[in-house]
């Protein structure tokens, strides 16, 4: 099975039509669904937060079968993520996309849980402390 660094790619990554935006509605919906899952999965494991549409992104090109996504296709898949609340455009021109592998609500819950677990309620904590503090190890907040 093919791998991107440490990330295990599914079999269908080598399926050429996967890289062509399908015109038929049912097929396209299923394709977009699979792309959404793959993008979220990849970003989560590789700790990627931002995807630039005009920049190289490892998922969007498959060198083995020599296929890559067109700009329209990238925008379509990311727009689908945005409409589901799993991503946000960072600029009006839709050139950069912030990927939320946890929704904003989920991030808030994680922070709250983190504060509760460590007895930090009603206190003041800097962002620096959250990111690099020993308490935050293994909570998903440490980056």
């Amino acid at each position: 099975m093919q791998k991107l660094g440490e990330f295990k790619l599914p079999h269908f990554f080598n399926y050429p039509p996967y890289f062509t935006l399908q015109p038929v509605r049912d097929t396209r919906e299923k394709q977009i669904q699979l792309w959404k899952e793959l993008i979220l999965d990849y970003c989560k494991t590789q700790k990627v937060f931002v995807i630039g549409l005009e920049e190289e992104f490892p998922l969007f090109t498959n060198t083995v079968i020599e296929r890559s996504l067109t700009f329209e296709a990238r925008e379509a898949f990311l727009s689908a993520l945005v409409s589901e609340g799993r991503a946000e455009w960072m600029d009006k021109g839709h050139r950069k996309c912030l990927i939320l592998w946890h929704r904003i609500q989920e991030w808030a819950d994680i922070l709250l849980q983190f504060a509760k677990d460590n007895g930090l309620e009603d206190g003041v904590v800097t962002i620096e402390e959250i990111r690099f503090g020993t308490e935050s190890q293994g909570t998903g907040l440490e980056i």
Binding site: H11, P16, P17, T20, T27, E37
Partner: protein, 447 residues
Amino acid sequence: MTGNSLPPVKLTDSGRPVLLPNEIECFFLSGVDLLCEDEPNTWFPHLKSGLLILTTHRLLWIPEATVSASTSASSVPLASISHIFPHKKSLKSVFASPRVRFQVSPSPERGVASAGSRSVVVTVVVRGKGDCDAFVSKFWENWRARAWEESEKATSSSSNVAAVAGSSSSGIYSSDGTVRMVGVSGILRKEQEMWESTDKSLQDAFQDLNALMSKAKEMVMLAEKMRLKLLSGSSSQTNTTNDEEMGSKEEMQELLLSVGIISPVTKESAGALYHQQLSRQLADFVKVPLDRAGGIINLIDIYCLFNRARGTELISPDDLLQACSLWEKFDVPIVLRKFDSGVMVIQNKSHSDEEVFTKIKVLVMKPDALRSGISPSDAAMTLGVAPAMAKEHLLSAESKGILCRDVSPDGFRFYINLFSEIDRDDMHLVKDHGIYASWIRAIPAHG
């Protein structure tokens, strides 16, 4: 005495009459009743609302498609008609549907068998719109022309000629008693005679042509003038035109149709008999090429074949399209079909897409096709159709969700649709059996 004692007319599958040799259709009238007024119970059947076709030999009456098949198509040989009554113009006739009366004398040797053998007066009642006066004059003309006698004579005289030729081939006297020329001078003389006769016939022919040409200019001008008048009529104040004008317009349109000049304006009168008959004729014609092409054929191909078959009297593409679109209304086994891409084809009603899709599925499941997809030309070879047609089939299979596309620098290829096979909750899951698993087995392993 019910029962139809008139000779029946054989119809083709699409409802066109089968004509006798040398028989030519001259006039069509729709919505026609044939009634016998003398007594309610004569041998002549009551034929209600049908299409009346006047030919050089017969009057054909064909029931309209909507009417059930209780009355069958029948004909009145013109030979059996003993009198046509002149068309009377009276105040009363203005309000009633136009009628034409003629007398039929039954006689077995002329095709009308009858027990009563009494002549009856038959009335043609024209309920539909149609030029009744033109019909009467044409009817009169054909009846006078006695075309059926010509054909009888032709068959009998041809046998006579053969007999004469057989007997006169020997001896020095020819059949008409003149001395035959023998030797070189005879050959020369004969040659000269032949020259003279061809010269004469050529001259005659050109004389006719010249006459035609001088008239043709006038005819074209007349047609053009009528067309312009129709155009101006339809563009200016269509609402305020009174009935009389409408009537004359219709008359004019039908006139134009009958001469075969089809201007855009006359297309408004869709459903005119011209297109109906063309449509039926086309349905009969299409069968053979359609079978040869495997049940589906391009409209353009049919246009070429049909016009080649007609030789003269070519039809325009618009007429063909109209004729094809009329098939929906008739009970014919073929349909006009438009693909999503706009390509139009003629296909058998029995032709099913399912069959084609099954073939495509088999093709696309081959290991090679799983790995690198299929192109329209691959499909064309398997299905035995033209590549353009194969592409249409592939596209319709795609829209059904059987295939999906791959557009790359290598070209436009189709693959079996795997998207529906993949589990959306677990991307890495591969079911043991199924298309996805066989696809994975077909592709070269990586990593």
